[in-house]
Symmetry: C2
Subunit: 339 residues, 2 copies
DNA sequence: TTGTAAGCGTTATCAC
DNA sequence: GTGATAACGCTTACAA
């Protein structure tokens, strides 16, 4: 609590506060001998600079905010782990808030974070954001905002880091087509968000380029976390279209629902029905049969986001122009026994 | 960035900084009319107090640290969500760090957090901590440490919040016994940590009190996150003891491994083998058959922890004695189709 | 009821 | 090479 201060060190050493301060920070213009003396005592007394005072003076809190839709989620908790570690490596602390996919909450969190003097924020937008005022305001007030994973094409002057959803589903669908499947269903996310739309487009593109005709009734939306709902929906779909021989799912949880549904109807995987998931949730590798899936490069996503953000923070501090970047990171198809 | 300051408000209003400050915070001794004027302008200019300056002055950062073994984990991410929300409600921000169950990392995180001036810390200890010096030092330096879930009986002057592992496994085991099972296996955690030991004791107590003799070979350790390992271990165990008719698992993931193993050997659940898990992971309710499990009151754990910690912080600030508490929160047995 | 002034622990400018 | 001094933005005795 009552930690040791520069002033205390100074009086102990019979020096001025400023000399001590400079000595500790290896200023060029302070004597070598003084430095060693000062540092010795600092070490002995276990001096820890008060970072609140430093922040006040330097106007930098060395803290970044993160706003995710949720943290109780395989993908986001993994992503946060990476962000937090990379930030830490660079001397930044991370404050996580969750929006619950609610724009109101997201906005108020955003405002609260800048009020609590973060240096920048990483945002994974809630699905139904239509208005970008708050984001623009914050950015204009000098706090960099970096969009991660759930990004918008409509915001300006923000760096963006995301994954190539469209291409990865396009590729996965083609794999099924190439393996001889020709009635492939698609379990999509709710189609009011960019990621879900992109995935759907990837699927449709692949179908359109193939020899079979696109059939809208083979695409059904199921929330990515609802295993049960996926189960029942897919059973229903299979009853209606017994000749479905493949399914692409927008999440692993949903894929596992489909997998259970398929097994419950005594169909063979992948011979009767091939299944592909999305995310490489850890259960995918241990379920029986194991699930082919698309792995998102969580580590690279997180690290890239933090690096870009910190870079922008530093540029801003030095008042030098920063060029915002939009980075798309490729996914990886993981072939297992369900396809 | 260059936000508006009290001083600026003051000059605009031709008042002193202190009056403005007090007016804004509704001090008793400032005129009603002044208050309204000040507040009006503050609102108009969107004045936001600089909380770094406030922190420096008040010596309170309104931030708490949380150290968990991991965040990519159903239980811990849920717990963090609760902590974060409850903290927020009380005006506190939360900084999460993870130890990866490594004492070194945990210690350095602990120290780093106090260096970064948190007001208190919630700690879920890594398994193999034997030394409590760092914790004691921090606590003695005036930063309250609250132990949550993974607690130690050896630390003094810390509040502790945990779950009654022993009783809940004792109860679950008895349920199996009461339902006629008499060769019940136990998949334990690694027995070098309190939670794992407590669970084992609960199991053993129930067996010892029953008519059957305790058989050490029916207890096997499997890391709580290793579904696959559980699968293979349980298959092996069942081969060795084909008459096992029930199994208690220290985690849901492990239970699901056992469930798959059981099905793969064409045994009926729960008639041939009854299975009980631990944690009420969301998959438990949707797997087929659904898994009976022990639900940990995540919300109550999180809220209680935050309330106690903040209470202690406040006491400390006011320099009034605080009585540390040790709270054990009961779990709930959730009966589903696997028992 | 309002204002003055000191101080929180730093950093940074400018004399010495 | 070292040390006053002001400043960051706020709170709080204390004085007016």
């Amino acid at each position: 609590m009552s930690s040791i201060s520069l002033k205390y060190l100074a009086t102990q050493l019979n020096m001025s506060v400023s000399t001590v301060s400079k000595a500790l920070r290896d200023y060029k213009d302070v004597g070598e001998d003084t430095k060693t003396i000062v540092k010795a005592l600092a070490k002995e007394l276990d001096f820890i600079p008060n970072d609140i005072a430093v922040s006040l003076k330097t106007k930098s809190s060395k803290t970044i905010g993160v706003i995710f839709p949720s943290i109780v989620h395989w993908f986001f908790s993994g992503l946060f782990e990476e962000i937090k570690n990379e930030a830490l490596k660079n001397g930044y602390l991370t404050i996580l808030l969750t929006s619950n996919d609610n724009v109101q909450t997201e906005n108020s969190h955003l405002n609260y974070l800048v009020k609590r003097s973060i240096d920048g924020v990483i945002l994974s937008m809630s699905d139904n954001r239509r208005d970008f005022n708050v984001i623009n305001e914050i950015r204009d007030s000098g706090v960099p905002v970096l969009e991660l994973d759930k990004i918008s094409k409509l915001t300006k002057n923000c760096s963006k880091v995301s994954v190539n959803d469209k291409e990865s589903i396009f590729d996965a669908t083609n794999r099924l087509i190439d393996s001889g499947k020709n009635k492939i269903a698609f379990i999509s996310g709710i189609l009011n968000r960019q990621n879900a739309v992109d995935k759907f487009i990837g699927y449709k593109m692949a179908i359109d380029q193939s020899s079979v005709k696109f059939d809208q009734s083979l695409t059904i939306p199921v929330h990515g976390e609802k295993l049960n709902e996926a189960y029942y929906s897919f059973v229903k779909l299979l009853k209606k279209h017994p000749d479905i021989d493949g399914v692409i799912c927008h999440s692993d949880i949903v894929a596992i629902g489909c997998l259970q549904a398929t097994l419950s109807l005594n169909k063979k995987i992948p011979d009767d029905i091939a299944i592909i998931g999305y995310s490489d949730w850890f259960v995918s590798s241990v379920i029986i049969p194991s699930l082919s899936t698309i792995s998102q490069p969580v580590e690279e996503l997180g690290k890239t986001a933090v690096k870009l953000l910190i870079d922008e923070i530093i540029h801003k501090r030095k008042n030098i122009k920063y060029n915002h970047q939009t980075i798309v990171i490729p996914t990886k198809f993981i072939k297992r026994n369900s396809s």
